[in-house]
Subunit: 234 residues, 2 copies
């Protein structure tokens, strides 16, 4: 053993830090996969698979708990300013991923309600929207893994596309409801499912902003578009 | 000056901690007041007031930023385990309050869309639901101020009432939509507003759980009812 006590502490801090990063990446990939499965379940009308997705959400919650524990351990070492930023960003990113998992589980839950009605012709728009959100999640996780603020900024800019598709789907669903009162209940579920996915996009954006903060501190991000106009649809 | 250097550091840590608590209480009261104003705006159909509420949300966001900064300062002092729990709880509570503020602003935003249609007879249910959420927020802030896990546990148990009222309102709004296609767009806004308020209840519950965690650490909370069945309404 040639290592000095100081070296030992430093190395072990780095080890715990990379453990934390891996936990977050694992958590994020689980949430993205949950959303992918939930979209698939909507298309295939598969209640059994929906139940599995709902049950899987506990594993994501458990990982968030682990991240918090690991963050506490790191903070107890009396970190420096840059480390502290990493710790703070890790907590926030884990919380965002946890919400993404909740939304994915909620999409699965509502799909079982949809399956009690005859098949709807209008679930395709939801899949398109969901695939955009899955892509956003995967890309922001890569940006986090690589501590890449430019990639993070790109993900953030793409959120406008999700908002545009969401707004279109929202209007489309309203017209189906107006044409046929029997469509009201299933389309209401689809509206909420679409909203869940739009929110996943917002959480991917939050994660992107935390990757930026992680690397750049309080240096302001460039301004960006917001294109969700459904709050004021008339 | 009789104080020892050690006393000085300890006192100043306490001062920063109580500064943090006060910021969170201020932030929480702002969010509760925003929700109250938003409900009022729906009843009075007052677009100007709605715009003020939307603009006020920035102040809550700014306070969350301040809380994060203060938390970083405290963490840099190399806190002990109990302090760290307070720090972690403070971050999470501030994030929950920030979301409550967003939801309140969203209720205000959607109210301006409602005001473009003729007055609706069904906004009363929303007010009832909203008042429950305002009460939950105020009560959980008191529990936080007093570090009172029993009061926190009471708030958490009351969330089932919000879920019940929300589920009733959800079903009621669906029937209006089925009776009259012209009600579909405004009722969709009301559905989302109701969902926002139900989510505020969930955030009050999260805050309650963090007050518990603050005092009791990882000691498990008693189980509780969940009564939001709208995910599976058919």
């Amino acid at each position: 053993m040639n290592s000095q006590p100081h070296d030992h502490i430093v190395k072990s801090y780095d080890e715990e830090r990379s453990r934390l990063t891996n936990e977050i990446l694992r958590m994020g990939e689980m949430a993205a996969a949950q959303l992918e499965s939930a979209l698939d379940v909507v298309e295939r009308r598969d209640d059994k698979a929906a139940e599995r997705i709902i049950a899987n959400d506990d594993a994501i919650d458990a990982l968030e708990h682990e991240v918090s524990q690991d963050v506490m351990k790191l903070a107890l070492r009396g970190p420096m300013a840059r480390d502290l930023r990493e710790i703070l960003a890790a907590l926030r990113i884990a919380a965002d991923i946890e919400r993404v998992g909740d939304y994915a589980a909620n999409v699965a839950k509502r799909s079982t309600a949809l399956n009690l009605a005859p098949p709807l012709p209008y679930t395709r728009g939801l899949t398109v929207l969901g695939e955009l959100a899955v892509r956003q999640m995967r890309e922001v996780l890569v940006a986090f893994r690589d501590s890449d603020p430019v990639a993070a900024q790109r993900v953030r800019a793409q959120d406008a596309e999700i908002d545009t598709v969401y707004t279109g789907l929202f209007r489309e669903l309203l017209t189906y409801m107006m044409e046929d009162p029997r469509a009201i209940t299933p389309c209401t579920h689809l509206l909420f499912m679409a909203k869940n996915i739009e929110r996943i996009g917002d959480h991917a954006t939050n994660i992107a902003e935390n990757v930026w903060f992680l690397v750049k501190g309080d240096e302001p991000l460039p301004p960006r578009d917001k294109r969700d106009f459904t709050n004021t649809v008339t």
